[in-house]
Subunit: 339 residues, 2 copies
């Protein structure tokens, strides 16, 4: 089965490239509000589920014990750009638990955002694990371990107490079995499990609504989603899609991208969850898809809808600043009737 083309990349009047994918919007009960494409296909959610992976940090009491506010919790849910503020925040989170960069098991990489990378290189510094886009998540894992008195070394490994807690949270929130035969290793070395896209959307609808959660989990979920929305710079960074989209409707829209074309969303006021996977792993396409889905959902708010549509359907410029084409969602998305 082939998923529909959801985004087209135009050069002049001609379609140059095409992106296929699947989308689903559900409510807290898992009722499908809208879908396109194969929503049963096992999909690695990658970084799009960091908010769920951060539940043990809050539920264990670690976040309170270390005095974490919105910025720290946003960092725990983040794929940040490695800007100086992100690096400092990750170091501070570790410091509150008596740890430092040497405890991080996520590895190092140069920032993916070119201006951040260039600034770091010009400064004469080299990236450390604090610059890793996942350093906030890993700092959260480490703080959970410290608070619970669990050995920190090896916290990222399959079968460690920390990763068992994370997997249990994922399994419980999404309702999808997290089986070893669907387990892979993520970019930051922790286990990641492929689950159906529909479970991913349902999981985020539950994060938004708390439907079916025990009170402690419902409160933790809402606290994390609220923190990410309130401190959206710490979830991604300057000019990053997640940050820009969340800033369009402060404290109303939660979105989170993941590698290989994944996006999730949680809309507490509407009680909806969203999950997107672009077949080919494209970020430009998944960003256009989430923005278009949000635009249709907020079709009764002209200004917000218009901002979202402009983000989704955007001009591309070449090295001389000349507009050569557009990235456009297809009618399958723009005509979507989402209720």
């Amino acid at each position: 089965m082939s998923n529909p083309v959801l985004v087209e990349v135009f050069r002049g009047e001609t379609v140059e490239s095409r992106h296929r994918g699947a989308v689903i919007v559900t409510d807290g009960d898992g009722k499908i509000v809208f879908s396109l494409g194969d929503i049963e296909r096992p999909t690695f959610p990658r970084s799009a589920i960091k908010a769920i992976q951060a539940l043990p940090l809050v539920e264990s009491g670690a976040a309170d014990a270390y005095g974490f506010g919105n910025e720290e919790l946003a960092m725990a849910c983040a794929s940040h750009s490695g800007e100086p503020q992100h690096v400092a925040k990750a170091a501070d989170m570790l410091g509150r638990a008596g740890l430092d960069v040497s405890a991080l098991e996520c590895g190092s990489h140069w920032p993916a955002q070119q201006p951040v990378l260039i600034a770091l290189a010009k400064s004469g510094q080299e990236p450390t694990p604090l610059h890793n886009n996942c350093s906030g998540k890993h700092a959260g894992f480490l703080c959970t371990c410290r608070h619970l008195g669990i050995e920190t070394h090896g916290y990222s490994a399959l079968g460690s107490p920390e990763q068992d807690m994370v997997r249990d949270a994922m399994e419980s929130v999404t309702g999808a079995p997290h089986a070893l035969d669907r387990c892979g290793t993520d970019g930051c070395s922790i286990p990641t499990y492929a689950i159906p896209l529909k479970n991913l959307a349902h999981g985020f609808a539950r994060m938004a609504t708390g439907v079916g959660f025990e009170p402690v989990r419902a409160a933790a979920a809402r606290r994390l989603v609220d923190a990410a929305m309130a401190a959206s710079y710490y979830v991604a960074g300057t000019n990053r899609a997640c940050t820009v989209l969340m800033e369009m409707a402060p404290n109303r829209i939660f979105v989170k991208g993941g590698a290989e074309g994944v996006y999730t969303g949680a809309l507490p006021e509407l009680g909806l969850g969203i999950a997107i996977k672009c077949d080919d792993g494209s970020a430009r396409a998944s960003e256009a898809i989430i923005a278009t889905i949000l635009a249709r959902i907020y079709r009764n708010e002209d200004e917000l809808e218009s901002k979202l549509d402009r983000f989704a359907d955007r001009e591309m410029r070449n090295w001389n600043g000349i507009t050569y084409g557009v990235i456009s969602p297809t009618e399958a998305l723009t005509d979507a009737d989402i209720n």
Copy 2:
């Protein structure tokens, strides 16, 4: 019509992402030796046709007048990495025609290859138009203008004498009409025309064989293809797919990638041309596809076939160096019987 899945990206045992595309191999007469997918679809060839775009440089006598050897001609066909040797070579080409960087109309960009970008940023320099991956092609355009006594200013614009020559060469070599309604603007600001993939393959089969060319064009085509193969470092750069693939069979394989998932190939000894377009514009996929097609073509040379297959079907590692998956061509490609 949907093109077949040609490349799958595995994480663990699960397919994480999928790339669709079309492939065609023809001989110099345009006879289809092998094809998969829609080979009629108009496709922007982008940088994959730089060797054809360089024909006027050689045919006009400019290349001889300025003493261009393999390295300079390879640069004229290049999407180079902006390494110091590339930058120096582009400056030297301009200098031979009494020009300098100020004549280039390609714009500036930081090198796309991270190690090159980091080295440049650490050095305290900023990129100039000489660092643009197209600077060698543009230097070739400028040298052609100077040699012919054509105004250099505006050489990159649609309707300029230089771009008319380039379009005429493209039209004649590929046999595809280059109509304004299929014209777009390329990354370096010159016009680019979408043409059927089958014409692109046939064009490169003719570049390899000279079939149907006047003697001057046949000699120019072969000289450019030979130069690119002989000085393949100048066509791309350190660890770049084009350079690595050409080095696997010195002076036997010509390949050239283009933006948005395009690849072309010319095999003079076999008289074949190749054209590839990955639907979604992915470079990782188009590189895997061209390597697999070459592996099947050279199936009777075990060592070369094995090198090509290892390039096509490669392990991916995360920030800690852990292998998490593979990029693999599908059976549609690996089982291809290309005669």
